[in-house]
């Protein structure tokens, strides 16, 4: 027997773990596009570089630490976008009621905490009546997420990719019964509204593609502090703190004689950028950069049509911060 990767059961923690070492109490099951399976990778070092042995070869190996990380690439459903942004940014306020819970999400304030909400990841692959893989990675945090949109039909027009990192703490077998697949409401790019720096890029039918990104630059080595803990003799991370976070926004739009992006670049005029997509009124996401200047405007082409690619510089605004999101979906308790 063997197992096909399509059999993967992926469970992501619903609520925030009470601490980095305590597993999520409930899970959401999602499909994903990429085929990447998570490896609970134990890292060993050796003494090859040490002198005094009479040669340059290793004579012994030593347990070092666990290194766990993976990515989740998905079509951008309202449910997954809400989950990813809640855990990726960290400060979450839930309001509303079924069927549209509303999540207002901002990056955590570093004056309050440096740690994002932690979640657990369960991966199970049944095989031959047993399980080829049945792991629960406890104490995971989101390193970065990227929402990407493009012209063209179907769900591929709107995708979200998440990279996450684990503390290394592992439970095998997981002992988790992952629930049924989450019913997802895919938000196609055709539903988009986008206004950047006073320019309505949808009404003018100019927008072609783009991406919104957030990178936490987690301080991974600092997670291995004295006393951070061991598992099978290998060090575990006892914390994962945010580093210098980087928001990003880039878009490509058709270039018209009336286009003003180049002028806005030269003048360094900053304005808000708001991108929203939806499945319906109960399932949506809106991303807001309160103050965005243009860093670069490059001429390009798409399908032979002259266009420009604009790279933005998200600036911190006193009242609105650097970035926020409002996500609506029918799931309650995300990162709560």
């Amino acid at each position: 027997m063997a197992a096909r990767v399509q059999q993967l059961v992926l469970g992501l923690g619903l609520g925030e773990q009470t601490n980095i070492a305590t597993a999520s109490a409930a899970f959401l099951r999602f499909k994903k596009i990429d085929m990447a399976l998570t490896t609970p990778k134990p890292v060993f070092e050796n003494d090859a570089a040490e002198i005094g042995k009479g040669h340059e070869f290793a004579t012994a190996t030593f347990p070092s630490h666990y290194d766990v990380a993976n990515r989740i690439e998905k079509y951008a459903s309202a449910e997954f976008v809400a989950w990813a942004l809640a855990f990726g940014l960290g400060n979450v306020v839930q309001s509303g009621s079924s069927p549209n819970y509303t999540y207002t999400i901002t990056p955590i304030d570093p004056g309050t905490s440096l740690e994002l909400p932690y979640f657990s990841v369960v991966e199970q692959v049944p095989e031959g009546g047993g399980a080829a893989i049945d792991n629960m990675h406890i104490g995971c945090a989101i390193e970065d997420f990227t929402y990407a949109f493009t012209y063209g039909p179907g769900r591929a027009s709107s995708k979200l990719t998440v990279n996450w990192v684990g503390s290394g703490k592992l439970t095998t077998p997981s002992g988790v019964t992952v629930p049924a697949l989450t019913t997802e409401s895919n938000m196609l790019a055709a539903s988009m509204a986008l206004t950047v720096n006073g320019i309505d890029l949808v009404a003018t039918k100019r927008i072609l593609s783009g991406s919104i990104g957030w990178k936490n630059n987690l301080l991974l080595n600092a997670g291995f502090y004295p006393g951070s803990g061991l598992q099978s003799g290998l060090q575990l991370r006892g914390r994962m703190e945010i580093g210098a976070r980087v928001p990003s926004f880039q878009f490509t739009a058709r270039l018209l004689a009336t286009s003003t992006e180049a002028a806005l670049l030269l003048a360094q005029t900053a304005g808000s950028a708001v991108l929203s997509v939806q499945y319906d009124a109960n399932h949506s996401a809106a991303f807001t950069f309160p103050q965005l200047a243009f860093q670069m405007v490059e001429n390009t082409e798409a399908d032979g049509i002259v266009a420009i690619t604009v790279t933005g510089t998200p600036e911190y605004a006193t009242s609105g911060g650097v970035f926020s999101a409002v996500c609506k979906c029918g799931i309650t308790g995300i990162a709560g």
Binding site: V93, G111, S113, N282, S319, G320
Partner: protein
């Protein structure tokens, strides 16, 4: 589900939306260091300015006592 069914589903969901302009629910936020508590409308324009200062949602089970 074919495309027509999906479109019909979207239209039905849109038709079920409450009328706009209804009063926004209130949400309680607390600053973890100062203990200050604010109760504001659950709208982004009210929430975000507090959230970027570090205010966090008070779970419903916690009493709204300043300095909890």
């Amino acid at each position: 589900m074919d495309f027509k069914q999906e479109v019909n589903g979207v239209d039905a969901a849109k038709a079920e939306q409450p009328a706009s302009g209804s009063a926004a629910a209130k949400v309680r936020l607390r600053h973890p260091h100062t203990g200050d508590i604010q109760e504001v409308d659950a709208t982004p324009d009210k929430l975000v300015p507090l959230m970027v200062q570090g205010y966090q949602q008070i779970p419903p089970e916690i009493p709204a006592t300043k300095g909890v």
